[in-house]
Symmetry: none
Subunit: 416 residues, 2 copies
Amino acid sequence: MRAIFIAVGSEMLDKERVDTNSIYVARRLMEVGILTDMKMVVGDDIENLTWAIKNACKRAQIVIVTGGLGPTEDDITREAAANALKRELLFKEEIVEDITIRFRQRNIKMPEINTRQAFVIDGAEVLPNAVGTAPGQYIDAETCKLLLLPGPSREMKLMFDKVLTDKIAPLCNFFIYKRCFKFAGITESETDAEIADIYAKHRNIRTTILATPGVIEVHLVGRSRKSEEEARIETDGVAEKIKTKMAEYLITEEDISFEEFIVAALKHLKLTVSVAESCTGGGLANRLTHVPGSSDVFLGGVVAYSDEVKKNILGVKEETLKKHGAVSKETAKEMAFGIRKLTGSDISAAVTGIAGPGGGTKGKPVGLVFMHLSAADAEVGIHKVFPGERRVVKVRTINESFNLIKKYLGEIAPKK
Amino acid sequence: MRAIFIAVGSEMLDKERVDTNSIYVARRLMEVGILTDMKMVVGDDIENLTWAIKNACKRAQIVIVTGGLGPTEDDITREAAANALKRELLFKEEIVEDITIRFRQRNIKMPEINTRQAFVIDGAEVLPNAVGTAPGQYIDAETCKLLLLPGPSREMKLMFDKVLTDKIAPLCNFFIYKRCFKFAGITESETDAEIADIYAKHRNIRTTILATPGVIEVHLVGRSRKSEEEARIETDGVAEKIKTKMAEYLITEEDISFEEFIVAALKHLKLTVSVAESCTGGGLANRLTHVPGSSDVFLGGVVAYSDEVKKNILGVKEETLKKHGAVSKETAKEMAFGIRKLTGSDISAAVTGIAGPGGGTKGKPVGLVFMHLSAADAEVGIHKVFPGERRVVKVRTINESFNLIKKYLGEIAPKK
């Protein structure tokens, strides 16, 4: 079975709003084995919405429409759905009574326009709204089940959960099992080249590769008509092969961020960290401190954007800056040492580089970054030339620095 | 003319990602008088995507597809579009050469799979990608113009802007005139309450209020079928009234970020800045250093996440921490003084607070933040209790600190 989700509202077309309804519905449907193929966002226009519902109902077995069930002129979902299914809209006196009671409980007289909410598609089952005035509708239209739900999340979720249990789940016959990996130190296309052969033949597993600068995610969603066990066995088979092949790049199998992984690993090993940043300009500290409870392991940092700060606060030697320059492995090393001594942390990470767009030279191009990890038992320096514009270079540098910390925590720290 | 936007990628169906591409495209199309009727999000499935493109091309005169142009197996946009238009895919050797050069510049051998990106729909115009490997395609298909653009925002925007100017704008018959304001220190609903009466009656001006934590944007897009002058006169009339009424909250009339405004203002006044951060954890420095050329005015900062760092690096007195606590106006003041002395900057900003979710007490709740600006001729301290979760508190604190700097730069600094 496949599902299409339709969100109604012009405001969603040109404003930055995360449509959490569709994500909620997609996740819940996946739990009963239904994959959402497609989502549509349609403005408050009756012709467009009629077209969208009609076509969605031809394509999918389940169509969920949210929004446009309010009492105003631009609430057009009832009418558009009736047009799409070529059915009548019937006026239900009992719904008016329900809404009147609801208003009376709030000591308000029901506005006349709310009677619009009493129109129901011929043959639809009315879904009571426990927390708002707009009732939902469930229509069993031969090849397609059509659900009309209110837009506000709280009303939508309560109503959807009930329909899912009562009507949709009994129709389903898929079991779902999921795995997830996060990798660093490898690109998206390199990842695909490594693992495509492993996942390609498995038609019951949906494989998604997601790339952000410096971190690659691989998501596997397996399904089976027989049992959860069957989905699990096939998915685990693929997942374990990927895990073995990509072991050196693996950050975590949990669906957490790189900084959440680092903070958790530091907590586990009871180690503290500090950072000294030039080209990332505070971004490394900022990412670490996004994690609640990071203050247990992160002591602090210095953003050394000028040579004076590198010298006066971090203690980088005048001579080092003169001889090797601010962007050099020697400066990165002294920055890391300096912040570790200043804060007394167990380990420290330092970065210095050229984020661009200006400042590059032939010998030291834009994107060149030196990273250094310092600990009582380790000094590790690396450098990279990262592609991309200023912000991308910052993000890649941050993730590469996390990778440096991760490697230390995985290989050196546990042996102590 | 009407447009349909199609975003390709399974990850957008069940993960919380804000699809900024569609919003950018909708806004830019609106500038030339084209309204976006509908948006579709389609998973990486060739049948579904073929269906979506085919139907969209029947319905709209402009169809923009983003994503799915990468080199991997699940990048299916080229093939789906060819199927939908019933056209051939042709292999273009010159695209392989372009991509090979791009990889060579990064000292990487081109992975074999990247040759997949060299397939072009028969009759399509290839759109060069200035910043990535995936070329775009523009197809003039009788009743519909179809655009295939890469998913990463930066690549998509550059390519779309060029097609908009070269191909789409000439098809349109509206004159457009825009104004924009950014405000701080006021909420979205307060802004609307202030200005709704001013813009409400103007049907030729589309007014959009966008809110991020701490910054409110108001965009006015006026249009006229007659002349740019007609659009300009009506829009300027509304804009000037808004400007007068909201003068005390105005950051800028340019479409730039708060940090770009601050860096430009510091450059103009030839002043340098440094920051001392506790609860923002480097976020303040990170935002300032997003701006190219910020190194001219930003000297550096200290992220003082522990009391020891506050004392040992910034010189906050033991006594102050004991008597008033780390989250207090006294500590904020000493942090600001400390970083200004350390770096020798003209002005400095310091923040200390409780970002949450833990760490709140009855007297000092989560969201309580003290901010302080220090300069030779000014000491300004404020505090706020910000609503929202950890990251939102960080962002609000950063923007409020920028507002503190902005006020100093506007009122005190110029008088010197």
